[in-house]
């Protein structure tokens, strides 16, 4: 199936016709509703909160934030940002309760530091991996977005972004950008390996109110297993260890350093750094 991200920029792709179709389709509404409730579960909000909805579109996800029951800690007040005027127009007609902004999240998040208790984003941030003009880059857009988001969340706040990466490169580009901005980040994958698999980027600011690390977000949830890629990476690093003085890696490193300084260095060969046979 073709990806809308590959066809047109978001503000042009979601024109009047496409926005209306998107909002009316019961299939899309169902998927959006289930993803929003999953995101709310991950945010674990206990009292009425101030939430930012990134790429709110026609307010399908925002609507659910306003509808959270009092017993479940709601209803929440939200602000939505979207780049498509047509989508926002549909949101206006549907009379959603949140405040709407016509803005490009790749240009940053224009709020005071510590404004929001939480942020939510449903099927939006993969659009940041496309640069529509030559003066912006996907990396730059992602950086501005995550830095702005990080600042606008209060300490202990959380953000959950459901997204559809095109491939593993995009997936690691997005999560890498979030980590660089200072977030504690983890990815939750629902129904992995199936056609309907869904990825949630879970972000915490200043620990996210958790006693441990990011894996604490899914504590107490059923059917979730934790795969810690960090532990594997550190183990591999430890097994190799730093090069010891005198071994081949150390010698090659030194030679490279000296060559960079402009010194004359003997060429390396397969004999470099080998032990000599004990001579009689």
């Amino acid at each position: 199936m073709s990806r809308p991200e590959d066809i047109l920029p978001p503000d042009l792709f979601y024109n009047d016709n496409e926005s209306r179709k998107y909002t009316k389709s019961s299939r899309i509404r169902n998927i959006q509703a289930s993803m929003t409730s999953r995101a709310l579960e991950l945010l674990d909000l206990k009292s009425p909160s101030f939430i930012l909805d990134l790429g709110c579109g026609s307010g399908l996800s925002g609507e659910m934030l306003s509808e959270v029951e009092h017993e479940d800690g709601g209803p929440h007040t939200w602000i939505g940002m979207d780049i498509s005027p047509s989508m926002l127009d549909v949101a206006l007609q549907r009379e959603v309760e949140g405040d709407l902004f016509l803005a490009d999240i790749g240009q940053g998040v224009p709020f005071r530091p510590g404004t929001f208790d939480a942020a939510i984003s449903i099927s939006a941030i993969q659009w940041l991996c496309n640069a529509e003009s030559s003066d912006v880059s996907p990396e730059g857009r992602l950086r501005r977005f995550f830095e702005g988001l990080y600042a606008s969340l209060r300490r202990g706040g959380r953000a959950v972004c459901q997204f559809y990466p095109k491939n593993d490169v995009q997936r690691s580009m997005i999560s890498g950008a979030a980590i660089k901005a200072g977030f504690g980040a983890g990815i939750l994958e629902d129904d992995p390996g199936t056609k309907s698999s869904k990825l949630y980027l879970v972000l915490t600011v200043g620990g996210g109110g958790l006693p441990g690390d990011i894996t604490g977000v899914v504590n107490g949830m059923d059917d979730v297993s934790v795969l810690d890629a960090r532990r594997k990476a550190t183990e591999i690093n430890n097994a190799r260890g730093p090069p010891r003085k005198g071994d081949k890696a150390w010698i090659l490193n030194k030679k490279e350093q000296m060559a960079k300084k402009g010194k004359v260095v003997k060429a390396s060969s397969r004999y470099t750094g080998r032990k000599r046979r004990i001579a009689f």
């Binding site: 009292s47 909160s49 016509l102 209060r154």
Partner: protein, 126 residues
Amino acid sequence: MKVITANFVTCAVKECKTSPASFPLHFNDAELEQQELDFQPEFIRNILPRIDWEALRTISNELGFPSLPESKPEEEALNNEQTLKDLHRLLLETHVTEGKLTCGNCGHSYMIKEGIANFLLPSHLV
């Protein structure tokens, strides 16, 4: 745009991030509308510590409301239902439907139409 949002939004231009004059944004030619919303005392109590009271006073002046008290309502005042209701009315039920938001630092104006503020920036300002 609700008044509560105006208390949090800043200028999106990069150079303005470091300037104190970029907050709050100033309203021009604002048209107001009142929209009923369920009263939620918990939300007001949650958000009140984060409200910039000085900015709120400036904004409500610009919108032509009677002036607010000098200082933010603190502890006991938060148990007074009338205070919370007034705040709810101002912060959540008052909407700016048309008008302009202007940055005090760079002078950039953000248009508000049908309650939606346009924060798209031309690429040279990003």
